[in-house]
Symmetry: C2
Subunit: 388 residues, 2 copies
C-alpha cells in the first residue's frame, strides 16, 4: 500500500492564538481510502510530538516499490481491514504547522527575511493546528468529519476539534490523552527545552544560519522523553539491570559480566538503548520544532477560560467520544482520561471509555494490543459507521 | 547547637572494588552528643547524593554565632530531644569519598600529578564508602555501632554495613531506599550524566584545568533530579499550572495572567522553580562528584553476587532493621523496601517496617512528618536504646 504526500498551499493569512499572523503556509497531507459521495466518511488523524501526516502505508522508492521501514506511525491501526478500515473510511493524515516533516515550520524560509524562520517561527497552539486543519477540510470540500482521532497530543487536537468546530465532528477518538498537562509533565518538557536552548550550538534558535545543529540538547531531550514514554515495569522487563556486552564480548555471557567501573562508558543496556534513541533522534528532528511542540502541549488547557472548570469547557462539544487510556501510562494516566469522561458525562454527552491493562506505559497507544484494537475497531464499525 | 567539622587523615592505601587503590585520603566528620564509656551508643549517619557529614546543628560565624541557614541536612531528625536524640546517642556524620564537601574527591589534588584529580578520581562504590567508614570507626575506637542509618543512597550504605561488617552493627535504619536501582532509575541517572559529560565545558572531566565548569550540564542534571524527588501530586499542589508573574506584575493576578507564548521564557511556576534549583546547584556542586555518586547508586546490588537472590545476599546480616518507605515515592517505592523486608524475614531476621502515607515523594525522607518521626523516635528509644 503505497502512499504519496500532497502539499496544500494556503495564501490567506492565519491568525494565531499568540497574536502573531502566519502570512501563508503549506500543509503536507496523505490520504487513505476513498471519500464517499456525500463526503461523510472522512476521519482526520492528528499526530503527536515526533510524528507526521504519514499515518499508514509505505512510501515508494524510485521503482514504485515500498521503501523498507517506511510504514506510517499508526500502520497497525489504519489501513484496509485494520481497526480504522480504509476500505470504509477516508483517512486524512496531516502534518502540523511548526513541524519538520514538510508543513511550514522553522526550517522553512521566512518570507520577511529570505532566511530560515528558526527561532522566529511563531508559537503555535493546539487550537491553531485545528484551525489550519479545518481550512484544509474546507479546501477538500469536507464539511463534517465522521471522526477526528489522535493519541497523546493528537488526542488533545481531537478534543479541541469538538470545541472549536462542534458542528463539524461526529465522533472524537481520544487515546492516551489528557485535558491538560500536569506540573510534572510541564517539568519534563521544560528540562528537555533547557537542554536544547542551552546547547552552545543552539545560537538562540538560529543554528541553521550558523551551520550547526544543537544535537547535544536534542539527544538529552529525547532520552528524557523516552523514559517518560515507557513504564517502570516494561523498562525492568526489557532491560532490567542487564549489562551491555562490549564488542567482542559474548552476549550470552552478559549476566556474568563484571562491572567496568566507569562513569562515562555504557555499562547497562538501558544506557545503550537511550543513547541510541537520542543519537537517532538528533539526526532527523529539528530543535525549534521540539520547542514549539512541547510548548503546544504545555499550553493546551481548554478549562483555562472557564476558571478551571472542565465540565463548563466541554459543554460546547456535540460529538460522541471514545476515550482510551492505559493503566501503566504515567505521562497521560487513566485518571486524566477519566476527567474528560466525567466532564462530558456532566454535559450528558455520549462517551465510551476503555481503560486497557497494558504494561507498556504511554507507548502503548502506538503498539499492537488486541483489546485496544478491538475496542477501536468496534467503535468505528458499529458507532462511527452506523447509519445516521 | 554549633558543630565543627574535623578532618581525619588515612595514610594506608584503600583498595577499591574497581581494582584501583586510593593511596591516602581524608574524611571530614562531624559528631553530636557524647560517646559513652563502653562506646556502645554510636550512630553512624550515611548521606545521599548531595548531602554531607553536616547532618545536624549549625556552623558558626567568626564570632561563634550560628550562621543563618547553616543547619544540617537532617536537623529535624537528629539533635537533643529529636527522634535520634543526641542527649543519648553519639551521632557521627561522615562525608564520603568522591564528594565535593571536604573528604577526598575529584576537586582535590592527585598526588601522582600534582593537579586536581578531576576525571581521574577512581570510581567509588557503596562498599568502598562503607570500608572507609569502618576505618574511621577503628580510628575513633568504636568497635560496634548502636545503629547505622541513612535515607536513599544512605540507606544502601546502611544495608551494606550489615553485610560487610555484620558483627559491628546492632541496628540498621534504612529509609526510602532499595536493594538496587531499577532500569528507570539508572535511566534518569544516565541522562543526567550525559547532560554533564556532553557539556562542552566538561573537557573530559578536567574542566578545572581549563578554568571552566560544566554548569549547563549540572543544571539539567539537577532539574531532572528534582522532578524525580517530588511526587506528581505534590508538584500539582505546589505549582499546578500556575503562571509566573514577571517583574512588576501583580502576583495576586497570576491566575488572570495571559500566556506569553514563548518557548524560552519562563511561563509556568514549575519552570521557574526548576531553573532556580538547577542554577543554585550548578554553583556549588562538582560535576565529577555527580557522576561518581550516581554511578555508586547504579552499581549497588548486593544480590548480584548471589544470582539475583536478595534473600541469599542478606543472609550475612545480623543486625535488626527498621525500614521506612513513603507511599508516593516513585524513585524508591515502598515495593522496594518490602523486597528488603521480605528477604530479611526469609532469613528470620528482626525487621520493623513502616510505610508512611505521605504526599511528598522521595523528598519525604527529609521532611517533618509526625508519624515518620514518631516511628524513628520509638525505634531509637525502645529498641536501639534497650538494655542488651
Amino acid at each position: 500500500m503505497i502512499v504519496t504526500p500532497v502539499t496544500y498551499r494556503f495564501d490567506q493569512p492565519l491568525a494565531l492564538r499568540s497574536g502573531a499572523v502566519l502570512p501563508a503556509y503549506e500543509l503536507v497531507v496523505e490520504t487513505h481510502g476513498t471519500l464517499n459521495a456525500d463526503k461523510s466518511n472522512a476521519v482526520l488523524v492528528c499526530h503527536a510530538l515526533n510524528a507526521s501526516h504519514h499515518v499508514a502505508g509505505f512510501h515508494a522508492d524510485a521503482n514504485g516499490q515500498p521503501l523498507p521501514r517506511s510504514e506510517g506511525w499508526w500502520h497497525n491501526m489504519i489501513g484496509p481491514g485494520k481497526p480504522v478500515d480504509t476500505n470504509r473510511f477516508f483517512v486524512i493524515g496531516v502534518n502540523n504547522l511548526g513541524s519538520c516533516f514538510g508543513s511550514t515550520g522553522p526550517t522553512h524560509t521566512n518570507p520577511a527575511t529570505g532566511q530560515a524562520w528558526g527561532a522566529d517561527f511563531p508559537v503555535v497552539t493546539v487550537e491553531d493546528w485545528v484551525d489550519a486543519q479545518a481550512r484544509l477540510l474546507d479546501t477538500m470540500g469536507i464539511d463534517t468529519l465522521a471522526a477526528v482521532m489522535g493519541g497523546s497530543l493528537g488526542g488533545m487536537q481531537a478534543v479541541s476539534w469538538t470545541l472549536q468546530y462542534p458542528d463539524r465532528v461526529r465522533h472524537a477518538v481520544v487515546v492516551a490523552s489528557a485535558p491538560n498537562l500536569t506540573a510534572e509533565n510541564i517539568a519534563f518538557n521544560e528540562v528537555a527545552r533547557r537542554a536544547i536552548v542551552t546547547d552552545p550550538d543552539f545560537h538562540g534558535g538560529h543554528y541553521l544560519r550558523h551551520g550547526t545543529l544543537p544535537r547535544r540538547g536534542l539527544r538529552i531531550a529525547r532520552m528524557i522523553g523516552h523514559i517518560t514514554y515507557l513504564s517502570d515495569d516494561v523498562m525492568n522487563e526489557k532491560f532490567g539491570r542487564a549489562l551491555r556486552a562490549a564488542d567482542g564480548e559474548d552476549p550470552a555471557a552478559i549476566a556474568e559480566l563484571a562491572y567496568r567501573y566507569s562513569t562515562t562508558d555504557v555499562e547497562f543496556q538501558i544506557e545503550s538503548y537511550l543513547r541510541y534513541q537520542g543519537d537517532k533522534f538528533s539526526e532527523y528532528f529539528d530543535a525549534n520544532t521540539y520547542l514549539l511542540i512541547t510548548r503546544a502541549l504545555d499550553y493546551f488547557d481548554p478549562a483555562r477560560e472557564h476558571d478551571g472548570n472542565l465540565s463548563a469547557a466541554l459543554a460546547r462539544a456535540k460529538a460522541k467520544f471514545l476515550l482510551v487510556s492505559f493503566t501503566t501510562d504515567w505521562r497521560f494516566s487513566p485518571a486524566r482520561s477519566r476527567e474528560i469522561a466525567k466532564a462530558l458525562l456532566e454535559n450528558d454527552r455520549d462517551v465510551s471509555y476503555c481503560e486497557i491493562d497494558a504494561p507498556h506505559g504511554h507507548d502503548a497507544f502506538l503498539l499492537d494490543d488486541a483489546r485496544y484494537h478491538a475496542a477501536v475497531r468496534s467503535y468505528f464499525e458499529h458507532t462511527v459507521g452506523a447509519a445516521r
